[in-house]
């Protein structure tokens, strides 16, 4: 049990460092000591607590949600290329969220949570449609079949999004900015919006860590080992949809985080979900905080959407995993 402990310590240390860098680096340098220094400069304190900190925390929560969801999807589908983005689930969540904005839906009882709830519904519906269709095509749920189905539905939902954007008038700016995938200028409100769902979703997945281990050997095998496959699968899919929907509703579609992080974590610490889920959660937070830091500093003063950075890193990793899988299978 020594190795996992080291993994947790390293991941936590890297995460804390990322948070530190995230709050301190920017157009205005804010010393980290501002965090605890009562007599610090008011401007610095304001920048740190009103702008940087919520941004870093939001990036962390979004990254963590996407990464743990990706890890669970990959385990469940035995597919290293699965993540909320490649499965088209992010697009589904986007459609749900944009619909809320487009129709100006606000359900009194849900209030602030209207957006994430619709987003999650979009994610969940897409998830089941994609898997249902993939199963129709190929009962064995081949790696390529799932990803191809994800692309088909992702493209379709993308066109639905474009249509809604074309039809919208003054709301356009809000939606476009949101679509590109960004965690900037969101404030504490958004953290309140995502946090409960990140906790619930992650908990649902973590509850199924042992079952995910069993399901790596296939659903039949998991059943032989005593896993209530139908129920556990449903819980995992719902958990993943909650996480994806919540993340998309606050930050738009940020691709590949759910792909890159679990893959790296697995390479470093193995594919035992008892640790993989938690470690992916931590490392996902780290990755998105760093990516967001890059996004706002790399061509400063202009800010890139963070989705650009993750795609820039994620697409080559996607290609690499695909290559390795194919080669591995041929050997």
């Amino acid at each position: 049990m020594r190795k996992p402990l080291i993994a947790y310590i390293v991941s936590a240390a890297v995460l804390l460092t990322a948070v530190g860098l995230g709050v301190s680096i920017g157009s205005v340098h804010v010393p980290i000591s501002t965090l605890w220094n009562q007599e610090a400069d008011t401007t610095a304190t304001n920048i740190l607590w009103k702008i940087r900190m919520p941004r870093v925390i939001l990036a962390g929560l979004v990254g963590a949600s996407l990464a743990i969801a990706g890890a669970a999807f990959q385990g469940l589908l035995k597919n290293p290329l699965a993540d909320p983005y490649t499965l088209g689930v992010s697009s589904g969540a986007s459609v749900g969220a944009v619909m809320t904005l487009f129709f100006g839906i606000s359900i009194p009882f849900l209030g602030l949570y209207t957006l994430p709830v619709f987003s999650m519904a979009g994610a969940a519906i897409t998830m089941f449609v994609v898997l249902g269709f993939a199963k129709l095509v190929d009962r064995g749920l081949n790696m390529e079949t799932i990803i191809l189905t994800g692309i088909i539905f992702g493209s379709f939902l993308g066109s639905v999004l474009s249509l809604m954007i074309a039809l919208t008038g003054e709301e356009l700016r809000q939606i476009i900015g949101w679509l590109l995938g960004s965690v900037s200028m969101r404030g504490w409100n958004y953290i309140n919006m995502i946090l409960p769902f990140t906790i619930i979703g992650s908990f649902l997945l973590w509850m199924n860590r042992r079952e995910l281990n069993a399901m790596l050997f296939g659903e039949d095998r998991a059943k032989h080992l005593g896993v209530d496959v139908k129920r556990r699968k449903l819980v995992i899919l719902i958990g993943g949809s909650i996480l994806t929907g919540a993340a998309v509703s606050v930050s738009g579609t940020i691709g590949f985080v759910g792909l890159v992080v679990p893959h790296m974590t697995r390479l470093l610490w193995g594919s035992d979900h008892r640790h993989l889920l938690t470690l992916s959660f931590m490392n996902g937070a780290t990755l998105l905080i760093i990516c967001d830091l890059l996004a706002r500093t790399i061509i400063s003063p202009t800010e890139l959407p963070v989705g650009v950075i993750t795609a820039f890193i994620g697409a080559p990793v996607f290609a690499f995993i695909f290559y390795r899988q194919r080669k591995g299978r041929a050997a």
Partner: protein
Amino acid sequence: MLHVQGLTGGYGKEPIVKNVSFHVQPGEILGILGPNGSGKSTLLKMISGILPKQAGTVEIANRNADRYSPKEFARNVAVLPQMHTHAFSHTVRATVELGRYPYQTGLFSSWSAEDEAAVTHAMERTGVTRYENTLIESLSGGEQQRVFVAQALAQQAPLLLLDEPTNHLDIAYQQQLLDTVRSLAVDEGKTVVSVFHDINLAALYCDRLLLMENGEIAKIGLPQDVVREPIIHSVYKAAVKTQAHPELPKPQMTLLPSMNGSGAEPFVVDETQFTVTAGSVQFHAPYSLKTVSSAVHNPGTGWYTTFVNRHVDAAYNCDDVKKEMEEYLEKAGHHLTDTVGMMTAVQTLHAEIATYADEDISIVIAVTAGVGNAVDVSKAIEREVHVGTINTWMIANGRLSDEAFIQAMITATEAKTRALQTENVMDPLTGTQATGTSTDSLLVAATQIGQELPYAGPITPLGKLIGTGVYECTIRAIRTYKEAKGWES
């Protein structure tokens, strides 16, 4: 332990398995056999709960299988799957630990000392402990399968279901795996139900066999009652012959490839095809003949193309006759695995070779005889062993049954003894009538094409030819021998 009653079901609307009933006792190994598509794997999947049943019941440990919760079921039934490849890899230990999943309760880890002991025991039992921290994907197929056996063992379930467990394994791993399964049944009283592809393996390792045909039970019973030519032939639509296992009382079967178009020219053996030199009598067939002999090289039953009766000096003495014979044959350019070799101190130039034929049956008899060491077998005492002096070959054109081979040997021996009697050959030690010499050899070979020759007793057509042929050839050979030795006839 396992009671299956009227089980019907399968993938779609049309049931694949129809009204199957059987039961398995604790400690018993039941093998499920059947051609592709006969429903044997489907049956196993229905028992293990992967496929739904349309009718019938499965009772495990006197309780309806449907009443078990998933974890309870896994504590009672462990399944060893066919080999698969996986996208992600666990370590060997993590894989075996999953076998304890049905014993885990609660939200947090509840790993107990019992769990740990079960895992350790399972890994030791299957010999995978030394790979504990290795990723399974880096192991060979056979080793991976052992890890899954360990996983199933960690479940500590009394019923073990196996689906073609030896698929893709080479024979050493097949043996290891099935030996382990066998000992689990014998030593630990586990009940085993296994689907087999290989009829011979199933017959070797199972207590009983269940043969499926079109989703129904074609036959269930002991291996010797199930693995029988007519049954296998009618279920598998394949031509087979059963034979005894060389070491164990288990039936084994072998395929009979249809020889049509094998390219073998029709071939009839006659005496002109024999080559006789001062060194040996040789016969070379264009294809292998089924042979039963008491030769020095390649005795017993087999298929051979080259037959050599070699002349050796009367003073020939060698510690390792077999090895010396091999060296001789190799030197003479014979292929060791295709050749039957005998030896004699008699001049091979004196060999008597003749074809005997009656209507469409024919047989070639070749005899070399010397009676310098004649023995009355009824008065045989310990003698110094000399090189065999009457070597008799019978090469028949036709298809001989197993009993015909044996009858041919009896008939030939009787004819030989009669010839010695006619020639009044005496045992010099006892002064009584000799029945043979001290190390006579016999060889019966047959082309195994053409005429069926089921019997070779003395009054059958073949037996008559053998009787006459061996008698006449032996007499002529003995006379030549006596003349050569300057004895009086």
